[in-house]
Symmetry: C2
């Protein structure tokens, strides 16, 4: 059972924002508050999904661990974001681990009860679908970044994803609190990240102050991502890479 303030907090999330008051009242009956200290583990990869979560306050990372304990952060969850929905539907357990990186307060919505409720009200699934689709896109973006970009491009891509063209002098928002976290998000080491940032600073493309980073040459950054090179410079031409041909385009309408 949830207090009114927490119900309001839930409603601030994208997933629940469209829900009617009576839906929220019902859902609050099988939701509860959870407190996590920094570094505390909320759930681990492959654990069965007992609840989906909405972060109210603090910061949580969703991550994967390799055989040698290397960490890959799949996503950093901030306040008003929900997570765990996909696991609820797939019935395959959580695909990632969730670990607090700041002291956090969360709302846990019991998965079984929530599923039962959704079965009664299938219209509510529209926001859920949108949620899952958006997350899939983001995940595909990660796959792309991991497999097709080098370290500089990864950093540039990340910074430009959070860069706001309307406020060029504003520091990039939502940066992870520690450099090591950003490195784990990008799938590179902290040392490499540090060197890349130093390079960008030397070239005058960014300026830094503590954790904050201000992009001062978005054009160059974007150029780097798209791998534009000076004319005349021979780009590594490989003939054997597959390039989809332009013809044969089907009339898919």
């Amino acid at each position: 059972m949830l207090d009114p303030a927490s119900i309001d907090a839930l409603k601030k999330s994208h997933l629940f924002s469209g829900y009617a008051a009576r839906d929220m009242a019902e859902i609050s009956r099988f939701a509860k508050l959870v407190y996590l200290e920094s570094h505390a583990v909320l759930f681990r990869e492959s654990e069965p999904c007992s609840a989906i979560y909405c972060l109210v306050e603090g910061l949580v990372k969703l991550c994967l661990y390799g055989p040698k304990r290397q960490e890959k952060i799949v996503e950093i969850i901030g306040p008003d974001q929900t997570f765990g929905e996909a696991a609820m539907f797939s019935g395959q357990g959580y695909p990632v681990s969730a670990v607090a990186i700041e002291d956090s307060r969360l709302i846990a919505v019991d998965a079984f009860s929530f599923m039962r409720y959704l079965r009664q009200r299938p219209e509510l699934n529209w926001t859920m679908m949108a949620m899952l689709s958006r997350r899939m896109h983001q995940l595909v973006g990660q796959v792309k970044s991991m497999s097709l970009h080098n370290a500089e491009q990864k950093v540039a891509k990340y910074l430009m994803d959070y860069y706001d063209d309307d406020f060029p002098t504003r520091p990039v928002s939502n940066l992870p609190p520690r450099r090591a976290d950003l490195a784990a998000v990008l799938g590179i080491t902290a040392e490499t990240l540090c060197r890349v940032i130093a390079n960008f600073r030397q070239r005058g493309w960014i300026t830094t102050l503590d954790n904050a980073i201000v992009v001062s040459s978005p054009v160059d950054m974007r150029g780097l991502i798209m791998d534009v090179r000076q004319p005349g410079e021979s780009s590594n031409r490989r003939k054997d890479v597959a390039v989809p041909s332009v013809d044969h385009l089907p009339a898919a309408g």
Copy 2:
């Protein structure tokens, strides 16, 4: 408008298998057949989603291209599989490109009409949700494999994912038709893949015949993925274990 045989083909897919006859009749009204020659492009990354597809016959790759045209295959679609659903809901366009790697026959279901129909029948969304969730899991698995495994582990993981414990002597199923495709799936070069396979063969962990691969030591393969090492042994030094050579190989060709 679809002929009865094609409607049957649609129903063989996981997405439509639970649909009632009258739903299928309705859907067939805004579905049509599409034929692709090998190498033909069905759609490209970021193109708006006009339809979702069900492959009836042939083989299609979903892939991403880097700034230098490097290819990363996100998934290889076989008969009776559907794709494009996520793009339909996200409203962000297709996250990947789709290219035929064999002459293919597909059914295209118009996205707009299908969405409209789903709005009338929200219960139908349950299979859709399951679909999306499963695909998300798979994608997270890819992220993990890309960021936390080395080349040998990637290959081993792939082979064991398609290995059937009940039929140990059966070749790994669903292997891509060409080695280069498998390499693009794993995010390594064809040369590296070739060397890894040669190593596995020398160690007696697999046997090969043409494209087919039979895993003969699943225990070792699984051990490699989990990075088990002999106690007391330093991780870096390459150990030159005398592997008893398995000489009953059918000369591969």
